[in-house]
């Protein structure tokens, strides 16, 4: 699903099916390069996440789509129109801010109706649509309150209603759940996804929380150092990371490289293996099936996590592998007794993924490997 290849040039009115396209976008702040050549294509109606650590350029990309920042180079195309020089108030996008940015001197209803007031919608239409939007975020009857009288989760929903009521082409969400506690955040994740499906809008969601991105997105882009390392569906990005950075950032991942990689998988190029894909056998001489990779080592650390146990195994071939095992039959005592024992690890060949070495400026340009038809399994 190479985005560039799939993209069909639209008519003069725009490309059909593409809501937002970033085309070689660069943003510099003085000497700092915040965004370093990003190409992204967001399709109509999809829930698209931009995932990455802080300072990876994801929020800057969002702000360039909203119009709060102007790209140093490259093009931001909204519905087929280059909006590079268009101020935010002329763009058909709306933003849910990380700090919600609710106007403290207005009631909830006035906040939600603000955009309609700006558009000079009649008063009764404004009130009706604001109430409708509040109903959608389950805040019926809160219209007369001031933002200061609401809890964090309620404010977050008002911010969402204020943006939804505008029925924009694209809704931008800048870490909207960052300030909420875990339980509320998980509830809101489900709610956000439901709302997105109900209204059928394009959502672009910025987050540094990989779990959030995996659970909510149709597709996601993984950012690092101002570049996109990989774009794909959650399953693609998780199961087939293109780079070591993606493997490490999206979930926990092991990286084998150099001599250890050569000895175990037959090539010194770095490979990653998800900890839960590895089987740990207490019998070092247990059989290895065809099409499986194997290694032996000593368990140096055992962390009992309830549902699963995490083992750190130092390999005889050099390097370390983290292994996750479900506690199907093991108890905590049994799990902890494995410490110091020699074990055999096995996993299917398809689960060791060749990746581009390391992260950093010399890292892989996303374009080359992104979503290629051949997932590049080692020895597949």
């Amino acid at each position: 699903m190479s985005d560039a290849a799939v993209a069909t040039r639209g008519t003069a009115t725009g490309e059909s099916g593409v809501a937002v396209r970033l085309d070689g976008v660069v943003k510099r702040f003085g000497d700092v390069v915040a965004v370093d050549g990003v190409d992204i294509e967001v399709r109509e109606g999809e829930f698209f996440s931009m995932l990455g650590p802080s300072g990876s350029g994801k929020t800057t990309c969002l702000r360039m789509i909203a119009g709060f920042e102007r790209p140093t180079a490259g093009r931001v195309i909204l519905g087929g129109v280059d909006v590079g020089d268009m101020p935010p108030y002329e763009r058909d996008v709306n933003t849910v801010f990380q700090d919600y940015a609710l106007f403290p001197h207005m009631t909830v209803a006035e906040n939600v109706g603000y955009g309609l007031m700006v558009r000079k919608a009649p008063k009764d239409e404004r009130a009706a649509r604001a109430e409708e939007a509040l109903e959608m975020v389950r805040l019926t009857g809160f219209g007369t309150r001031k933002p200061a009288q609401l809890s964090g989760g309620q404010r977050q929903r008002v911010a969402l209603a204020r943006a939804l009521v505008m029925r924009p082409r694209v809704l931008l969400l800048d870490e909207p759940l960052g300030a909420l506690d875990l339980k509320l955040r998980q509830a809101m994740q489900v709610e956000l996804k439901e709302i997105q499906q109900a209204v059928g809008l394009t959502f672009i969601y910025v987050t540094h929380d990989q779990e959030e991105a995996l659970t909510m997105s149709d597709r996601l882009a993984v950012f690092n150092h101002g570049r996109v390392e990989q774009v794909g569906s959650p399953a693609e990005v998780y199961e087939r990371p293109d780079t070591g950075f993606v493997a490490g950032f999206v979930g926990v991942s092991n990286v084998l490289e150099g001599d250890a990689a050569a000895a175990i998988v037959g090539s010194p190029r770095p490979v990653t293996i998800r900890p839960e894909k590895i089987h740990l056998a207490l019998d070092v001489n247990s059989a290895v099936a065809d099409g499986e990779c194997t290694a032996t080592g000593v368990v140096t650390k055992v962390v009992y996590l309830g549902a699963v146990t995490r083992y750190v195994v130092t390999l005889d071939e050099g390097g370390e592998l983290v292994v996750m095992q479900q506690n199907l039959r093991t108890s905590s005592m049994e799990a902890l007794q494995v410490q110091g024992r020699r074990v055999r690890l096995t996993w299917e060949r398809q689960h060791s993924r060749k990746v581009e070495p390391g992260d950093g400026p010399g890292g892989a340009p996303a374009e080359g490997t992104m979503g290629s038809a051949d997932p590049g399994e080692v020895g597949a």
């Binding site: 909203a66 119009g67 709060f68 101020p87 935010p88 108030y89 996008v93 709306n94 933003t95 801010f97 990380q98 700090d99 940015a101 106007f103 403290p104 001197h105 603000y114 955009g115 700006v118 558009r119 204020r162 943006a163 505008m166």
Partner: protein
């Protein structure tokens, strides 16, 4: 709780012993602090009493005294104060000679306040939104520095600037614009025999003197408006001017009101500048000063003082009704 920690009861018992021990050793000072620890209301009373006494006895007391004076009157022939309660002093405020003073002062205070807010806002906005830490510090200093020198010195300096032989005439003369001032001072109400003798100069110097008192509270109010509010407004389709009217201005209002209380009341009460600038027409503060110090008509001076206070009370209640304090 881990086994390495002592049970809480034991800890309390230990500290209690230590405190009483120290109290016995420490003598009277320790006894005092122990007393205040045990009687929190006594600590509160000891802290508040001096200020409350000062406020009630000296401040409210003298205002009460003034209030009584304003209901007395000056006997016309003897020039002595007649201590029978009467409204005649307040009645005399309605005479054109006196009511003109009130209206003239009000107009001047309003003009100065408006000019100060218009001049202060952009600077305060720049300081709050765009200036670097260092830049803001330098601007703070620049705003506050004039307050470190005497008000009289600054007023006299303005006489030098505005005099016919002064810097302003000289500079405008260099570019051939000295005629502008001469035209300006022939204007009906604000004009005068010379620039210094016109209301324009009084207005300029008042505005200069009270500007810092407007900049600082407005800057403080604007500093509390996060940039995301402006972005949100523009994101929802509002052009900059609408964002300013609907978001920035309402949120800056408490600062503008606070600043205007300063500029307004300082202009109402000032009694020096009108003697140095403008014509011989009197202003409120100057009238109070003259009635007490020169004429000896304390009842009239007291009545004028209450006019100034009444104006401020009316002003604040209007501001309150307009919702100026809601976002505080």
């Amino acid at each position: 709780m881990g086994p390495d920690r002592a049970p809480p009861l034991l800890v309390v018992g230990y500290e209690h012993v230590a405190v009483t021990d120290r109290a016995r050793r420490g003598g009277p000072m320790a006894a005092i602090s122990t007393f205040f620890y045990r009687h929190p209301w006594a600590k509160l009373a000891a802290l508040l009493l001096p200020a409350v006494l000062w406020l009630i006895v000296l401040y409210l007391g003298s205002i009460g005294g003034l209030l009584i004076y304003s209901f007395w009157s000056l006997a016309e022939f003897t020039g002595l104060i007649d201590r029978t309660l009467t409204l005649s002093t307040y009645q005399s405020l309605l005479e054109p000679a006196n009511s003109d003073i009130v209206l003239r002062t009000l107009a001047m205070a309003a003009a100065v306040t408006i000019a100060c807010s218009i001049l202060a806002f952009p600077l305060a906005y720049y300081m709050a939104r765009y200036a670097t830490r260092r830049g803001r510090f330098v601007l703070y200093l620049a705003v506050l520095m004039p307050l470190w020198s005497s008000y009289l010195v600054r007023a006299l300096a303005w006489r030098q600037i505005l005099a016919r032989e002064g810097v302003l005439y000289w500079a405008l003369g260099k570019v051939g614009l000295d005629g502008v001032i001469d035209t300006l001072i022939t204007a009906p109400v604000v004009g005068g025999a010379s620039l210094i003798a016109s209301k324009i100069s009084l207005f300029i110097v008042f505005t200069y003197l009270w500007l810092p008192f407007m900049i600082l509270p407005v800057e403080a109010a604007l500093e509390r408006v996060p940039g995301s509010f402006l972005e949100a407004s523009s994101d929802l389709g509002a052009r900059p001017w609408l964002t300013f009217r609907r978001i920035v201005l309402p949120l800056a209002k408490p600062g503008l009101i606070a600043g205007s209380i300063f500029t307004f009341s300082l202009t109402l009460g000032d009694f020096i500048l009108p003697t140095m600038f403008g014509s011989s027409e009197f202003y409120l503060g100057q009238q109070v000063f003259t009635q007490i110090g020169v004429v000896g008509n304390t009842p009239l001076a007291a009545a004028f003082t209450f006019v100034a206070m009444a104006i401020m009370i009316v002003y604040l209640s209007i501001a309150r009704r307009a919702g100026a304090f809601e976002s505080l």
